[in-house]
Homo-oligomer: 83 residues x 2
């Protein structure tokens, strides 16, 4: 079972990507973990180590983030998380 | 069977997205059609009608393109297609 991580911040752009894309990827071969970074700010550093600079982003492996459209920068996410 | 279309221009950013993402989506529920816009310039207008402004992009339905990272603008794609 391969694994991908979808990082998001609950924004409309993130929701749109999640609805279509994550539903399509979750299947017999792949498991997608969805991480809401505003609710789980302790995962922000991990996302940034994977190369994530904005959300929504999908990470299949180290240093290979796929940034999908543009919802919010990681700086914005950090501000929201402190909210 | 649901369908998604992956538009690309053969660039390195496109290839990276294709390797991870399209392999993950092609499954029992989804079929992904891959369209190389430089080789098939007659599909460029169709991609733009779906809202695609850059490649690589993944389209699940009308007006809901997911732009993945940034490889090339559609203006660049048109120039490449003219060779």
């Amino acid at each position: 079972m391969k694994k991908a991580i979808f990082y998001h911040a609950g924004c409309p752009v993130c929701k749109h990507a999640e609805n279509d894309l994550i539903d399509a990827i979750n299947n017999d071969l792949y498991e997608v973990e969805t991480v809401h970074l505003v609710e789980k700010p302790d995962r922000i550093a991990e996302a940034q180590r994977s190369g994530v600079t904005s959300v929504p982003a999908l990470v299949f492996g180290p240093n290979a983030p796929l940034h999908i459209n543009f919802g919010a920068s990681m700086a914005d996410v950090r501000k929201l998380a402190k909210g």
